[in-house]
């Protein structure tokens, strides 16, 4: 395995959880709900995933538990911001903090318990292609799932009527309601999808990337996923670019540190975050200050009945 191959493989593993979480949040935001609690849902997924996987010995059960945990937190958020029309920013921040705290409790018995990661799936024949094969076609199931999600979401939003209705709820809840769509139900389902994706991304962290539990192991990835949605101007394909840009910079700075580049390691570790801020600023400038955000993003809707 060459160094380049190794670097590419680690870039993919670093980018995949970001991509999965971002694509889920993207769907929720296209429906008009801003859920800042991605970090909380993600780490709950990580904690529930490893707890169930160790207890039952089944990785699949762990993944399922992670998804359910993410959805459960999203459901709480949905009840608050949709059912009670509370402020989405405040509720989202609360959800992030709540998730971090609760995951510590759930994960406490499992601190430091080692576990084997999930194996990679080699696509027959294709994985034998020199260089490309091992990089693209000998991956763990999450990587394939992340791309399936991107394709599926892009198709759903752009090509199906249900996707059109979902986008309509994000553009103007009142107008969608006037046409007879159940805005709150649609938004709730979009939130659940976002929660499921965040939970899945969390499972990737605790079951594949570093297969054991430490509290706070998401280390801000949920926040980066939020930034990637803005970076992507709410388009699924661009989320791939955003996630891999961030993942790539993360890995490159590690290699640069290993190669002895004379920059303080703290500064290097901050690089991916700085790049994200820089990219957001440049995108906003290129767009001339306007926003591609769904018009009703973050606006509560209360049907008058």
């Amino acid at each position: 395995m060459t160094l380049l191959e190794a670097i590419l493989l680690t870039v993919i593993t670093a980018s995949t959880p970001l991509l999965i979480a971002a694509i889920g949040e993207l769907v929720a935001e296209r429906a008009g709900v801003l859920n800042l609690g991605v970090e909380g849902m993600m780490i709950m997924g990580a904690a529930a995933g490893i707890a169930v996987a160790i207890t039952t010995g089944s990785s699949a059960a762990g993944v399922a538990a992670a998804i359910l945990a993410g959805m459960a937190l999203a459901a709480i958020f949905g009840l608050l911001v949709l059912g009670l029309a509370t402020n989405q920013v405040a509720a989202g921040l609360a959800l992030a903090i709540f998730g971090l705290g609760l995951s510590g409790v759930v994960g406490a018995p499992f601190v430091g318990v080692p576990r084997d990661g999930i194996g990679k799936i080699a696509v027959p024949f294709l994985s034998d292609i020199p260089f490309l094969g091992p990089v693209l076609f000998r991956q763990d199931p999450f990587v394939y799932a992340s791309f399936a999600l991107v394709v599926g979401v892009a198709w759903f939003l752009g090509r199906t009527r249900a996707g059109l209705v979902l986008r309509a709820c994000g553009e103007s809840a009142a107008a969608a309601h006037a046409l007879g769509f159940k805005v709150l139900r649609i938004r709730f389902l979009a939130l659940l999808f976002g929660g499921a994706c965040a939970g899945l991304a969390g499972a990737y962290l605790s079951l594949v990337l570093t297969p054991f539990w430490t509290s706070g192991m998401t280390s801000g990835r949920g926040w980066i996923a939020l930034a990637i949605v803005v970076f992507a101007s709410w388009l699924p394909w661009r989320a791939v670019a955003g996630a891999y840009l961030f993942g790539g910079v993360t890995i490159l700075q590690l290699h640069a540190q290993g190669a002895g580049v004379p920059v303080p390691p703290q500064a290097m570790a901050a690089l991916p975050y700085l790049i994200t801020i820089l990219a957001l600023v440049l995108i906003m400038r290129a767009r001339g200050g306007g926003s591609a955000a769904p018009a009703a993003l973050g606006t509560p809707f209360v049907p008058d009945r």
Binding site: R161, L164, V165, R167, A168, E171, S172, A174, A175, A176, H177, A178, L179, G180, F181, G288, G290, P294, A295, D304, R305
Partner: protein, 479 residues
């Protein structure tokens, strides 16, 4: 209502017209009573059920999705899903059949107001409705666009479709409808044939009292000295899809009311912002107020020179919704009225202003000093206009003074504007309501795509001429 009938629903603001039609369209549920459709009681739990019965609605505030294409907007309203290319095809067919040209692929934000309404109507027609409800459809159209709409409606009636028509414009109702139901305070107070009534008698039934036209000052035609002059003012648009100003010039004399007509979104916002000082002109001498070049001055400086401003949006621009009326009075008068000497607020003075405006303009409210959002639209409008007029300004710039205000309140406001001008002030009225401009102005200019036409003496012009200018004709074509 019968098949093929055009029926008008009349009433002042808050009479319950919109509530009634929302129930017919399944958006609200009645507490009691039943709706009969073709002889049988109908259940209308949601708009889908209403559409399935054959009830379609064209909304007052367009219920369109700005960032989506015409075809996507139409597809959203179809209850039987169809692939987008098919929708676009059918849409083109319907729009051709009814003479309502539309491009399926264009995004809504690129369309003019008239085109947006066409989208709403076509969207409604795609359902093949038997009853079409239109909520104030002409309030945003030029007279010519409105004529086009009437043609379409006549055509729909000959096909046996019933039309339920809500409007404030009584002449229109008399032209279009053969029956009318009049609501006041949520009750039916009268039913009549509008063709047999006059606009005045219809207004009387709506208000329950006599409504007169604002009376013009006698001999108010002697033009005073030039108070405000704008010279070759250009401003870029302040947002990506907005309209700026191009080479706008005007002159306004003391004692005169000048009207600016135009369809919404043709630069009225930029003009108001430039005159009030919310946006600074490129050079000081572009705007001259009483001989002083004020183009680079901010809004407080212009107020200190005796100017007063009433923006279009009363809730959110003219008044802060969650502030009390007294606090709103402070916001508007902090630079000029001495409400807060040495930085401390003099509440008694503010309450005095609230009381004076309340008395002079008959502002109806519960408590003495409620939050602005607690007032009805018409009463808040009387307050924000009255707040400026009672200062006794030398120049008043007012945008949409009576938009969405009932007939009684509108009359109070128009009379106050005329009285102010008679007292020697210069008044600029920016309005989309042509009838209003013809009633109260001395001269009218038309704004189109950020360009302002020369002002025409109101007595010498006609609705048709102004209507053509509003649609973008050159003065030579319009004359």
């Amino acid at each position: 209502m019968r098949a093929g009938e055009a029926h008008a629903l009349l009433g002042e603001n808050g009479a319950g017209k919109s509530t009634l039609v929302k129930m017919l369209y399944g958006l609200l549920q009645p507490d009691a009573g039943e709706v009969y459709w073709r002889g049988a009681p109908a259940a209308l739990p949601d708009p889908r059920a209403a559409r399935a019965l054959g009830i379609g609605m064209v909304f007052q505030h367009f219920s369109l999705f700005e960032a989506m294409s015409v075809a996507e907007n139409v597809a959203l309203a179809l209850d039987v899903p169809e692939p987008l290319p098919r929708v676009a095809e059918r849409l083109a067919a319907v729009s051709r059949a009814y003479g309502l040209p539309l491009e399926p692929g264009r995004e809504i934000w690129r369309l003019s107001v008239g085109e947006r309404q066409r989208v709403e109507i076509v969207r409604c027609l795609m359902q093949d409705p038997r009853l079409i409800i239109l909520d104030e459809p002409t309030s945003v159209l030029t007279p010519q666009e409105a004529e086009g709409l009437f043609g379409t409606l006549d055509r729909l009636r000959t096909e046996g479709r019933a039309v339920l028509y809500i409007s404030h414009k009584l002449e229109e109702v008399r032209r279009l409808c053969e029956a009318a139901t009049i609501l006041r305070g949520g009750r039916v107070v009268a039913a009549c044939d509008p063709r047999a009534e006059s606009a005045a008698s219809l207004a009387r039934m709506m208000v329950g009292a006599e409504v007169g036209a604002a009376r013009r000052a006698e001999g108010g035609d002697d033009a005073g000295p030039v108070r405000l002059s704008v010279h070759a003012l250009s401003l870029p648009p302040d947002e990506p899809h907005g309209v700026g100003l191009q080479d706008v010039s005007l002159e306004l004399r003391a004692g005169e009311v000048l009207g600016i007509a135009g369809v919404a979104g043709n630069g009225q916002d930029a003009l108001f912002a430039a005159l009030s000082g919310e946006r600074i002109a490129p050079a000081a001498d572009r705007i001259i107020l009483d001989g002083a070049a004020v183009g680079r001055e901010d809004i407080s400086a212009r107020r200190r020179r005796g100017a007063a401003f009433v923006p279009e949006e009363r809730l959110g621009h003219a008044a802060a919704p969650r502030f009390r009326l007294s606090e709103n009075a402070l916001l508007a008068g902090h630079a000029t009225e001495g409400f807060a000497p040495a930085g401390f607020i003099r509440r008694s003075r503010l309450l005095g202003v609230v009381d004076r405006v309340t008395a002079a303009f008959d502002v109806r409210k519960g408590p003495r000093d409620p939050e602005a959002r607690a007032l009805s639209g018409g009463n808040l409008q009387k307050f924000v206009v009255g707040r400026e007029i009672l200062r006794g300004p030398r120049l008043l710039v007012v945008c949409q003074p009576t938009w969405g205000v009932d007939a009684g309140a509108a009359q109070v406001i128009r009379q106050a504007i005329l009285d102010l001008a008679r007292g020697g002030a210069a008044v600029l009225v920016i309005s989309q309501d042509l009838d209003e401009l013809l009633e109260i102005t001395d001269r009218v200019a038309v704004i189109f795509h950020g360009r302002l036409s020369a002002a025409l003496p109101t007595g010498w012009t006609t609705r048709e001429e102004i209507g053509l200018l509003m649609g973008g004709a050159t003065p030579a074509e319009a004359a």
